[in-house]
């Protein structure tokens, strides 16, 4: 029951099993109430705190809600949201494909690992915020530079999970496939792919939240539309409530993508 109200962090199967185990997660009503109650406490604290400061420092939930309604009504929010969503999803797709292909190579061929992995790790030491202006210089102010930033952010966790997933495939099963004279494709499709999906999905879940951050980093450097640009725009107009609206929308976007992946995972990995 718990998982319908909270964002599952662990493997969905386990979370489900744990919450149905009687008493482990407290009485049933506590599970139902935990989310609204937690939200209510946060709202009350926020309201109290916001009364201590002028709205340009900390707008209250009422100010932010009013600004949200206005931004939805005049189409501002949807326009910026759709741009960020497109950038994030395209960036995710690019990063995912490259990471899985390279990850497969690394997992299967030690030589590729030896040649490639130092650069892959080194690339993670470069802060993406510092790289973004360069990417925009090279690839222009349009969509491609933002997609690239997203792809770079998404790439690493998916790569690592791909390698770990493929390596964790049980040796005995591999030997069984070999003894049955399975082709490389058969080994991949019948054994490696299904066996590595749970771990791979862990990487995808991480990547899908990170790709939103990637889009925003790209937009921060140079963009007119997108939620990152909206944050900058609101900042330039001292419109703190609008900044909150943009930030909450970013959170909602990342959470929706995460839940979508979890749902997909449940469908795909169903025994």
């Amino acid at each position: 029951m718990l998982e319908t109200h909270s964002v599952p962090l662990g493997k969905t199967g386990e979370a489900g099993a744990r919450s149905s185990a009687a008493g482990a997660a407290g009485p049933r009503w506590a599970g139902w109430l935990s989310l609204p109650l937690g939200l209510a406490v946060i709202l009350v604290l926020w309201t109290g705190l916001s009364r201590l400061y002028p709205p340009f420092i900390l707008p209250g939930p009422d100010d932010v809600a009013a600004r949200f309604v206005q931004a939805v009504a005049d189409g501002t929010l949807l326009r910026h949201l759709s741009v960020t969503l497109v950038e994030a999803l395209l960036g995710f797709a690019v990063g995912f494909v490259v990471a899985v292909v390279l990850g497969y190579g690394i997992a299967k061929h030690p030589l590729i690992e030896r040649v490639v992995s130092p650069y892959v790790v080194a690339s993670q030491a470069v802060p993406i915020v510092a790289l973004a202006p360069l990417l925009i210089l090279w690839f222009g102010h349009g969509l491609s530079s933002k997609v690239l930033v997203c792809a770079l952010v998404v790439f690493f966790p998916i790569l690592v999970n791909t390698v770990v997933a493929l390596r964790s495939v049980d040796t005995q099963s591999r030997e069984l496939m070999r003894s049955l004279n399975a082709s490389a494709w058969q080994t991949f499709s019948k054994l490696e792919l299904p066996a590595s999906l749970p771990i791979l999905f862990g990487g995808v879940r991480m990547g899908v939240t990170l790709c939103v951050i990637g889009a925003v980093v790209g937009e921060f450097v140079g963009a007119d539309t997108g939620l990152g640009a909206l944050v900058n725009l609101a900042r330039g107009m001292f419109d703190t409530a609008l900044m909150f609206v943009a930030l909450f929308t970013l959170i909602a976007l990342a959470m929706s993508l995460y839940l979508l992946v979890t749902a997909l995972e449940r469908v795909v990995t169903r025994p």
Partner: protein, 340 residues
């Protein structure tokens, strides 16, 4: 259960605290070092003045006034600091800073969101923003359908462009705006954009030095907007009006001297920013172009018409949500009739 009860106790306490504050004025940090009134030959008042840019030749009047001891004459020990104009206005609003250089549009934007900013001295007499292009620009109408680069959808360049479009009745949707960061001259030279918006005293000069002759449209030829000046907050006006008077007086002496004696002003710049000595021709050209924006009658006085125009334009163009009474945004009370 004890934890729950404690939590329930906490909630009304917070609400009470909130209500108590909501009635009165917003809480303001009392940490600001309230400077003592003019010391008669005693200790100097420490003041930090924030400039909305990096150290630059355009701040010559301040370097000059500092080096000639004009601030010291007023009992002020001045430190210059730099930052983003937008951040500076927020520092003023929270009284973490008392003085900054900002433009009229920033004050109007801020006041519309409840920032208690007040503009107390005019410096640039005309709005120093221009649109420039390597293609011939006869009038602003020629911008229709063109790609125009701006650093971003904020700041003086964006406001200046919107002001120009507003004054000439061009729908902003007819112009293809593109955020290009602070790469206006390069982007125009590399033909990545058809035109770009920059400072009248800077980017057009850069393009000329690159051997091209840009066509330039000055925003100030079409709309009379309030440009850069000295900005403070309502708290300082209430608690330390005398300090503002002294700051304004010293600064105006620096501005006046710079417009008379550009050579002397440039000497002060080189002393303050030694790097400028490496490109004296460019720097002097920028300074010369800038002084043209500082000259005028009754130095320091804000033009009420420019304030009305600015406030009306920003309201009509949808740049501010809540209207701002321009009379609350500036005052000429601190500007001396005669600059000593």
């Amino acid at each position: 259960m004890l934890r729950w009860r404690l939590l329930l106790l906490l909630v009304p306490m917070i609400l009470l605290a909130g209500c108590a504050q909501a009635g009165g004025t917003p809480a303001q940090p009392n940490t600001a070092s309230a400077p003592a009134p003019a010391a008669t030959g005693g200790a100097l008042t420490k003041v930090t003045l924030y400039m909305g840019y990096i150290p630059n030749v355009q701040f010559a009047p301040f370097y000059l006034a500092q080096q000639k001891g004009y601030y010291r004459d007023e009992g002020i020990d001045l430190t210059l600091d730099y930052g983003m104009e937008n951040d500076l206005m927020q520092l003023l609003a929270t009284d973490k800073a008392q003085f900054a250089i900002g433009s009229g549009d920033q004050v109007i934007l801020g006041r519309s969101q409840g920032l208690p900013l007040v503009y107390v001295m005019s410096w640039y007499r005309k709005y120093p923003v221009a649109i420039f292009s390597l293609q011939p620009l006869g009038s602003p109408k020629d911008l229709k359908g063109k790609t125009v680069g701006v650093p971003g959808l904020f700041g003086a360049t964006y406001i200046g462009l919107r002001g120009l479009l507003y004054a000439t009745g061009i729908d902003p949707k007819d112009v293809n705006l593109q955020s290009i960061g602070f790469t206006q001259a390069e982007s125009v030279l590399a033909k990545k954009v058809d035109a770009a918006v920059g400072y009248s005293t800077n980017e057009p000069l850069q393009i000329r030095r690159a051997g091209q002759s840009p066509s330039v449209i000055e925003v100030s030829d079409y709309i009379n907007l309030v440009a850069n000046g000295l900005v403070t907050n309502e708290k300082t006006i209430k608690e330390n009006p005398d300090l503002i008077k002294r700051m304004v007086r010293a600064t105006l002496r620096g501005i006046r001297d710079s417009t008379y004696d550009t050579e002397g002003a440039f000497g002060a710049v080189v002393q303050a920013i030694p790097e400028t000595a490496k490109t004296p021709d460019t720097q002097k050209a920028v300074l010369d172009a800038s002084t043209a924006f500082w000259r005028g009658d009754s130095l320091g006085q804000s033009d009420p018409k420019a304030w009305e125009t600015s406030a009306r334009f920003m309201q009509d163009a949808g740049l501010i949500q809540k209207p701002v009474d321009p009379k609350t945004a500036y005052t000429n009370d601190f500007v001396p009739a005669q600059i000593p």
